[in-house]
Symmetry: C2
Subunit: 146 residues, 2 copies
DNA sequence: GTAAACCCTGAGGTTGGCTTGAGAGTCACC
DNA sequence: GGTGACTCTCAAGCCAACCTCAGGGTTTAC
């Protein structure tokens, strides 16, 4: 039996803060293996694994609620594969949309920037509002019409 | 001189809620042209333009704080072009990064999904944790090493 | 004249994933 | 035995961009 970790040691090993660990506990994402009489939490090595998994799942866009869901299913002794696969499919679809939208926005901004490159600065006394702002409005109106 | 708009009319024309308009006012993004004795706000047509601009700038990823910044500079009688251009450049760079990251995550998820396609469901009594979860961990570790 | 539809202020709630703070107990080392 | 590093609980704060509610006053249409 390996040495149990105190919360600070666990935090260090998993590269999170102790507050985060306690926060996860409040969400029932990670329970200490045991709690001493003085209230100190003690963790085994699996806690490190679990924390790393959480962090990794987060980089895959899993919310804590979804991670919780996965853990719950697993806790019931059922295979989580189906759930995880479904979640992954959703994530991929969501990412696809996100990428498309971001790309569209980027294209918009670039078009916009290009159309300005040759233009001199507004003369403040000349314009009611910045001509670039006006241009944004027009550009956007045109884009919205598409 | 055109007819002034009450907040509800402005809201309808600009396709926002009255609560949003009041919220923007609290951020000094949009002030009513005048305020009657009964406290009613009255707006001119420029308010519609301004609200539309805000919404459009938002679709370009401008935060309300940034929009505020643009308005502030303009209020001082200076051309906002330089600021707007700078902001746009930042947005483009940020979007680029966002797209890259999203694409990387999507690729990761797809690789992951593919590698599972042929795999049978875990037998619950067989595995300590879901093998897919383990796979995630390993996949991620590999990817992180890149 | 009355009822519906509008307007006001001010405070609080929402979402997610934490972080910070107060106030106090515990432990490890010298 | 003291002091500094650690731990505890509970509560509140943070970010952004709003939304909702309570408890009023006002206007407008019939």
């Amino acid at each position: 039996m390996k040495k149990l970790l105190k919360i600070g040691e666990l935090a260090k090993q998993a590269h999170v803060t102790v507050a985060t660990i306690r926060y996860y506990e409040s969400l029932h994402l990670l329970e200490p293996m045991s709690k001493a009489e003085n209230g100190y939490r003690y963790y085994d090595d699996e806690a490190v694994t679990r924390l790393l998994f959480i962090k990794q799942a987060q980089t895959l866009q899993f919310s804590l609620a979804e991670i919780q869901q996965v853990f719950d299913v697993r806790k019931q002794g059922e295979p989580v594969c189906t759930l995880v696969k479904t979640l992954i499919d959703c994530k991929i679809a969501a990412l696809e949309q996100e990428i498309q939208q971001a790309t569209a926005r980027k294209t918009m901004l670039e078009t916009y920037r290009t159309s300005w490159a040759a233009r001199p600065l507004d003369n403040p006394s000349d314009v009611k509002v910045c001509s670039l702002i006006e241009e944004v409005r027009l550009t956007l109106n045109r884009l919205e019409a598409i």
